[in-house]
């Protein structure tokens, strides 16, 4: 049984479907990539999972519990964290305070123990390589570091599932390699299931264990990365253009 399962999930804006009857599942400890052209509904799908947008149909089941349309903070506390493409740190707090807030509030039945939260936050910063920046103002971090901060905020709450929304866009080769190794470590060392929306196909091919292709809000196909990449319909419709640009 999948850890996270979407059953016929849909979202419409003014009658136009952005996500149209998507049924997919992610197994425990899997790295699942979701790809597709712009406007395919990938980011909307992640927003539906974490409750930032209400689903207009279908159910989202996590560990056997129906989480459909739960508020985002409760979904986070159940163990599903999202890292968005544009990092959103709290500007008046330093790096450590940003992560400690997530460590304190982003857990189920949190005991609100600030000492432990600070320790977990420090460990999360160590994990993403920002330990030496812990007392820095978040405004002093570059985009790459801000994404690592967002990752630290996500893992500090010990989630079971981590959703990543195009977190590797705009990175150079060295930054991309670091990001890939950190995401792999998140799964391998922390045993977190990763569902990952991405346009950078080089990263997808080196990291994903399974790929789901979305188009016009529907699942076009899914399978092993190399199989999906060889699918003529996928190559022609989506990946051909993206592969060249990546």
């Amino acid at each position: 049984m999948p850890t996270l399962e979407l059953r016929d999930v849909g979202k419409s804006y003014g009658g136009l479907p952005a996500v149209d009857g998507v049924s997919i599942g992610a197994d425990d400890g899997e790295i699942l990539a979701i790809v597709g052209p712009n406007g395919a509904g990938k980011s909307t799908l992640l927003k539906l999972i974490v409750g930032l947008e209400p689903a207009t149909k279908g159910t989202i089941v996590f560990d056997g519990e129906d989480l459909t349309n739960y508020p985002p903070h409760r979904i986070r506390q159940r163990g599903i964290a999202l890292v968005q493409q544009t990092p959103r740190a709290f500007p008046s707090m330093n790096v450590l305070e940003n992560v400690a807030l997530a460590a304190l509030f982003g857990r189920a039945n949190a005991h609100r123990d600030e000492e432990k939260a600070l320790a977990r936050a420090g460990e999360a910063l160590e994990f993403v390589g920002l330990a030496d920046r812990r007392f820095d103002h978040v405004g002093n971090l570059n985009l790459h570091q801000q994404r690592f901060l967002a990752l630290a905020r996500a893992v500090a709450g010990d989630p079971r599932v981590l959703l990543l929304d195009e977190v590797m866009a705009g990175l150079n080769d060295a930054e991309l390699a670091t990001s890939i190794s950190i995401v792999r470590a998140i799964r391998d060392l922390r045993h977190i299931t990763v569902i990952w929306v991405e346009h950078v196909m080089k990263a997808v091919m080196s990291l994903a264990e399974r790929v789901v292709v979305l188009n016009f809000g529907k699942v076009l196909t899914q399978g092993l990365p190399q199989d999906v990449m060889r699918d003529p319909a996928v190559v022609e419709a989506y990946l051909g253009e993206t592969s060249q640009s990546a």
């Binding site: 974490v50 409750g51 930032l52 508020p71 985002p72 903070h73 409760r74 986070r76 506390q77 964290a81 999202l82 968005q84 959103r88 740190a89 709290f90 500007p91 008046s92 707090m93 305070e97 400690a100 807030l101 997530a102 304190l104 509030f105 982003g106 857990r107 949190a110 609100r112 600030e114 939260a117 905020r153 709450g157």
Partner: protein
Amino acid sequence: MIYGLGGALNLAYGQMAVMSAMVVLFAMDAGVPALPAVGLGLLTGALLGLVLDLTIFRPVYRRQGEARVLLSLLLTLGLAFVVDGFLTWRIPFRGLTLNIGGGPIDILGVPMRRGSLLASAITILAFALLFAFFRTTALGRAVRSVIEDEQGARLVGVDPRRMLRLILIMSGFLAAIVAVTRAMVTPVTVTLGFEITVFALIVTVVGGLGSFPGALLAGVILGIVNSIAASYIGTFLSLIILLAAAGITILLRPSGLLGVRE
């Protein structure tokens, strides 16, 4: 405090202060000693904040952006008129005065009334406690996270509704402190609500929305401007001068004295 939080406006803030003052007044009329009566007034302010959160702010916080601002503005303004009208109708000539006994105290050669000094000390203490709460406690940081980025706060597990409720309760408590400290200097009458609201709104906008040091700085500066204008020009013109000073500040610094530029 509610002005900078969650994009909502509470234009019934002054009426919350006046209602708290009236509770103190009636408690003292009933023979309750001053200190417990003040305690009752502070409790009333906090409860009023909770009642607002459970009633008219429920639909407000279900909306986002401009709709939230406008709805909060309309609902609280309506409430302010209702409360003002009711108090003026039922107890038109009542006012709370808290006489602090003893003669003036010399501060650097200037005789100061004990009431003014006590009111200033309470205000500074309240601000220090508030500042410490927001800066040093996890709950305070959670409230700040909602102020800075409500969606981001949700994504790290903070429940914005709880934080907004807490801030309304604190806001009511502070409104009661405003009433009590003001009553140490000058009577708090039933018609004072809008004056308190307008002054609080000016201080907040001039200081910078959501900036506590900014609110303190603006409060001190505008308080001095208000006092000088009232003493040397006339009380009837002090509000106009205050508004002019606030207008000039906003023209020069649209985000307020210590507000963050968007």
